[in-house]
């Protein structure tokens, strides 16, 4: 018997004896379903994380820091949602890898596949933002539900209260400093202004400032009034933080202040004098 026939006989004998069996078609069906399901889930998560990234930029007001110049860049970098971006990129990479494993996509060029994925994720992520999914995320974020607990680590990174930047609701105004409410609590903001502030700061205003945190105090180099609609995430955080606390807002003792170039109140008028 030839060598070729021997091998054929050996294998066929194992098959007929039942030593080698056909794997069930349902196993392959489940495998295929699992792979396609994982791919779909990864793409959905990438879209969701891109949406969260857009939501963060839109609602946490960190882009405003860039209008402060050099100091603002440091604050912007400090508040940049790195974790969100890293998780988004990881899901995008995983989706690219899984699509290569898919028998419908391996013939396509890898760069084209990644480009198509990026376009799909950006388009659908932006579409979700347009649909107003933000409001739901905002509600979930400050809820005690499991989704809120999952989302928090991605957003809580110095929300409104950082080493180089500060944002919050003015609670008390003094000649040389302010007390503001942030999602983390009350914060003393001491004026060390490099540029005079041209706006009148009053209790109930929302402010955004760049500077430096030393100990418990924040030394503000630049300060701006900001519309609360530009920072809804911080506004909501403050609302949640102080919901059950009795608001204690005292009027500033020396209001309006005397001529003082470091004073934020009516500074423009003071300078013109």
């Amino acid at each position: 018997m030839s060598e070729e026939k021997k091998l054929e006989k050996k294998i066929m004998q194992k098959i007929k004896n039942g030593h080698i069996k056909l794997r069930s078609k349902y196993v392959f069906f489940a495998e295929k379903l699992g792979l396609n399901g994982a791919l779909a889930l990864t793409i959905i998560l990438a879209i969701l994380f891109f949406n969260l990234f857009l939501f963060y930029f839109k609602t946490a007001g960190h882009l405003v820091y860039l209008s402060f110049g050099k100091d603002g860049i440091l604050a912007f970098l400090e508040t940049f949602p790195y974790l969100l971006v890293i998780v988004f990129l990881l899901f995008l990479l995983l989706a690219s890898y899984l699509s290569r494993k898919n028998e419908n996509f391996y013939k396509k060029s890898f760069s084209h596949l990644v480009l198509a994925l990026i376009i799909l994720v950006i388009f659908l992520g932006s579409f979700l933002t347009y649909l107003g999914i933000d409001k739901r995320i905002e509600r979930e974020l400050y809820s005690s539900r499991p989704t809120g607990r999952v989302l928090k680590p991605f957003f809580n990174r110095c929300l409104g209260d950082c080493q180089k930047g500060m944002a919050g609701l003015v609670s008390e105004v003094y000649q040389d400093y302010l007390i503001i409410k942030t999602p983390r609590g009350l914060q003393k903001v001491i004026f060390k202004l490099k540029m005079p502030c041209f706006e009148k700061i009053e209790v109930g205003n929302f402010i955004i400032a760049t500077g430096e945190k030393k100990g418990n105090d924040f030394f503000a180099y630049r300060i701006k009034l900001i519309d609360k609609r530009e920072i809804p995430l911080i506004e909501q955080g403050i609302h949640q933080r102080f919901l059950f606390e009795k608001e204690k807002i005292s009027l500033p003792p020396e209001f309006p202040c005397e001529i003082n170039h470091t004073c934020p109140i009516n500074s423009l008028e003071n300078i013109s004098k």
């Binding site: 060598e3 070729e4 091998l7 054929e8 050996k10 294998i11 066929m12 194992k14 098959i15 007929k16 080698i20 069996k21 056909l22 794997r23 069930s24 078609k25 196993v27 392959f28 495998e31 290569r100 028998e103 391996y106 013939k107 396509k108 060029s109 890898f110």
Partner: protein
């Protein structure tokens, strides 16, 4: 229609749904082809037979995963290819062997700038083939020695067709460079 006249894909359908005995025909059809292909992974006939046996067993066990709308030959070559790569990983210093007809194929396709002594050229071609990266060697072997089309190579190696063309062209260039360096020395 006689069972022998059935296409591979129809035969697979029959094995899956009617009679497992027909699997012997698949072995008959592919044993020699795959054995030839596996020579590019090992020179040892016993090792080759072991790999071949594993390939046919894997193919049989996973027959339900084959999509009969696709080409069976590409699928079985892919299983053999993966098994060959596994073997190479375990035996890192395997040298591939080439047949005289294959030397001719390479000689015709690599446009060397000078004529060289045939026996020297054959030896150099063999060593050059062993020296090029595996990612170039795989499509070159399938294209020149197994006479597979770009589409089939794309299915076997699971890479886009454009990439197959690029790898073959770069592989040829690399072999040419190695040969010219070796032959000038």
């Amino acid at each position: 229609m006689q069972i022998n006249e059935l296409t591979d894909e129809k035969l697979v359908k029959k094995i899956r749904e009617e009679n497992i005995d027909f699997y012997g025909l698949i072995i008959e059809r592919y044993q020699q082809k795959l054995s030839h292909y596996l020579r590019k992974f090992t020179n040892d006939p016993d090792e080759r037979e072991d790999i071949l046996q594993i390939v046919f067993i894997k193919v049989y066990r996973n027959l339900h995963s084959f999509n009969i709308k696709k080409k069976f030959s590409s699928w079985i070559y892919r299983v053999a290819h993966n098994q060959g790569i596994d073997f190479l990983k375990k035996h890192a210093h395997q040298e591939i062997s080439l047949e005289s007809v294959e030397y001719k194929v390479i000689d015709e396709n690599i446009d060397l700038s000078r004529d060289f002594d045939k026996s020297i050229l054959e030896e150099k071609i063999r060593t050059a083939f062993n020296e090029i990266k595996l990612k170039y060697r795989e499509p070159l072997v399938l294209f020149f020695f197994e006479e597979k089309s770009y589409e089939e190579i794309s299915d076997i190696l699971r890479i886009p067709q454009n990439t197959v063309g690029t790898l073959i062209s770069r592989g040829k260039k690399e072999i040419k460079n190695i040969l010219e360096q070796k032959l000038i020395r």
